[in-house]
Amino acid sequence: MRKRSRLPMFVTLGVLLFLYAPILVLILYSFNDSRYPGAWQGFTLKWYRMLLEANSVEARDIWRATRNTLVVAFAATIISMVFGTMAAWAMYRFRSRLQSLHQMLVYAPLVVPDILMGISLLMLFVNMSVNLGLTTIVVSHTTFCISYVALVVLGRLQDFDHTLVDAARDLGANGFAVCVRILLPLLGPGIAAGGLLAFTLSVDDFVITFFTAGPGSTTLPVQVYSMMRHGTPTLINALSVIFIIVTFSVVIFSQRVLQRKNNTHPHI
């Protein structure tokens, strides 16, 4: 047996370096005592202090944007969890013309570039003379989140054994009891995973928000964008690090929770 080529391994390590280097540099910059990204001027925590002290203008804007982001993400997540789960159930349960149409509708937003979705929603709101604000952002985010939730839940449903529903009905459960005692406990992790994805996508979204946000409804990514353009870039470094710490811990935590869930209820 001849030796396996090592090239793929080196490519992979190169990719990992490529992926992480900018983020590591970003973290280092956040401790650099210089107004602009550049030569090392010494260690400082002043950017973090500036962010956490509520009295600076930047900090006030950032915290307001953070609040907006969370409000939008929670609202869009909850609506899309309900609608997306229903959509997944419909596509799983029924095989009809209506469902092929349904499927097309659900998949289409996944392949359409953000900017097209952004501008078309903007046109809709302009046409309906709706004032742009948090509501329009929530509506826009829900529109793409439904598809992602439906996709994740549908994936979990592929392993779902529908005779469990038959069995519960057979043992005397009515529709409500089937939902509460069988479907929710078994599909809960899938719905939660879909919701988590929707939440992160909503928090992360810049382009669609940029088109559908109005004055005063700035979200964090939009705030970061305007700081990048007009403000103090170094402050963004510190903000990014906080952002990274929060998202990484959420991801790792949810990964562990979902994994533990999976261990106790393996799909048979």
């Binding site: 054994d161 005779t163 469990l164 038959d166 069995a167 519960a168 009905r169 057979d170 043992l171 005397g172 459960a173 009515n174 009891a177 005692r181 069988i182 406990p185 078994l186 106790t264 209820h265 393996p266 799909h267 048979i268």
Partner: protein
């Protein structure tokens, strides 16, 4: 007997294709009744209609005088043991078994004592706190039975309950099912494609094919007196002969002429007239095969033939014998010590004989059913 459960003219089509076609059955109180047939014959659809998971296009279902055709599954006095058990993976065995009583809103104390009794019945009390994925297939099977029985249904449906188990376990579970049935005395409707399970467990069997019920009868009836070539070929092995009634020998027996064979005698329970065509089915083990010409017995048919193939199987041997262009499948049991005998060998001239009572006249014959036979005799004669 009492006609406790009645299915009248059940019909169901899926996308225009009939799955169940005018099926009527009557089940007696406390009996084990099997629906037997190949996959796709409509037996599972019929069971799902009984359970309330499918709505029939036509027909009624009556239990103890009450028409339950339009009741949803949760309102029927019927419970089901599903093929893949369908145990709730997020609940313990205890909670799985107690599910039905909980749905019925029974008091906690009552549920606890009943669950304990049922788990004890299936010998799983020690595993009550486990989840379904922590137990073996046979144990899951028993949980599924306990869960279905706890509501004291009037009818228990079992959908291929042993299909997922290996052979040894299947045989043990068959005995266990028998024991449980003796203990609870509920009517069982058992769906299977395995004739062995159906024969050993059932009081009566309905053989289904293409959505229709071909024959209903006790296991011995469907085996010994199959109504059609399908039943004869699906349950066990057999030999078919196309024959014409050439003369009646006496009140009960007729002489049949079969192509290229001397006339044979057969019991004519169908009261066929001379000249009518009929198909005869003779089971492989009904034949006797020997070197010497058997002495003329009363109503004994005998043919001269040549051995083509021998398959020694220990307790018995299968022969393929050619008689006048027909190829016969013959099974001989070995009651004696075989090493001391000089067994038959290939190309040997033999005598094949059978009693006139052992050839059974079929009501219906389909050429396609010969494909169900285990060793098709379709190669040309060398």
């Amino acid at each position: 007997m009492d006609g406790f459960i009645e299915l009248r003219g059940i019909r169901k089509k899926f996308q225009g294709v009939p799955a169940v076609d005018d099926a009527s059955l009557t089940l007696n109180r406390g009996e084990v009744f099997s629906l037997l047939g190949p996959s796709g014959c409509g037996k599972t659809t019929l069971l799902r209609i009984l359970g309330g998971f499918e709505t029939p296009d036509a027909g009624r279902i009556i239990i103890d005088g009450q028409d339950i055709t339009d009741l949803p599954p949760n309102k029927r006095p019927i419970n089901t043991v599903f093929q893949n058990y369908a145990l709730f993976p997020h609940l313990t065995l205890w909670d799985n078994v107690g599910f039905g009583l909980k749905m019925a809103g029974r008091p906690r104390k009552f549920i606890d004592s009943e669950v304990e009794r049922m788990l004890d019945l299936v010998d799983l009390l020690d595993h009550a706190e486990k989840k379904p994925h922590q137990i073996s297939g046979g144990q899951k099977q028993r949980v599924a039975i306990a869960r279905a029985l706890i509501n004291k249904p009037q009818l228990l449906l079992l959908d291929e309950p042993l299909a997922a188990l290996d052979l040894k376990l299947r045989q043990r579970m068959l005995l266990e099912l028998d024991r449980i049935h003796d203990e609870v005395g509920i009517t069982f409707l058992y769906v299977t494609h395995d004739q062995g399970e159906a024969m050993s467990l059932s009081d009566r069997i309905a053989v289904m094919n293409h959505g229709k019920i071909e024959q209903i009868g006790r296991p011995m009836e469907v085996y010994e007196a199959p109504s059609s070539s399908f039943v004869a070929a699906f349950i066990g092995d057999t030999n078919f002969f196309k024959a014409n009634v050439s003369a009646s020998a006496d009140a009960d027996y007729s002489r049949l002429s079969i192509d290229k064979l001397p006339p044979v005698l057969a019991y004519n329970d169908k009261k066929l007239q001379t000249g009518q065509q009929v198909y005869l089915s003779i089971r492989p083990e009904k034949f006797r095969i020997q070197r010497e010409k058997p002495s003329d017995g009363e109503r004994l048919n005998m043919l001269k033939g040549k051995v083509l193939d021998i398959i020694y199987l220990g307790s018995n041997t299968k022969f393929r014998v050619e008689c006048g262009g027909h190829i016969l499948m013959i099974t001989q049991q070995h009651a004696r010590f075989m090493l001391d005998t000089s067994p038959l060998t290939w190309e040997e001239e033999v005598w094949v004989s059978w009693n006139a009572d052992d050839g059974y006249m079929l009501q219906r014959y389909e050429e396609a059913d010969t494909r169900l036979l285990n060793l098709p005799a379709e190669e040309p004669v060398p």
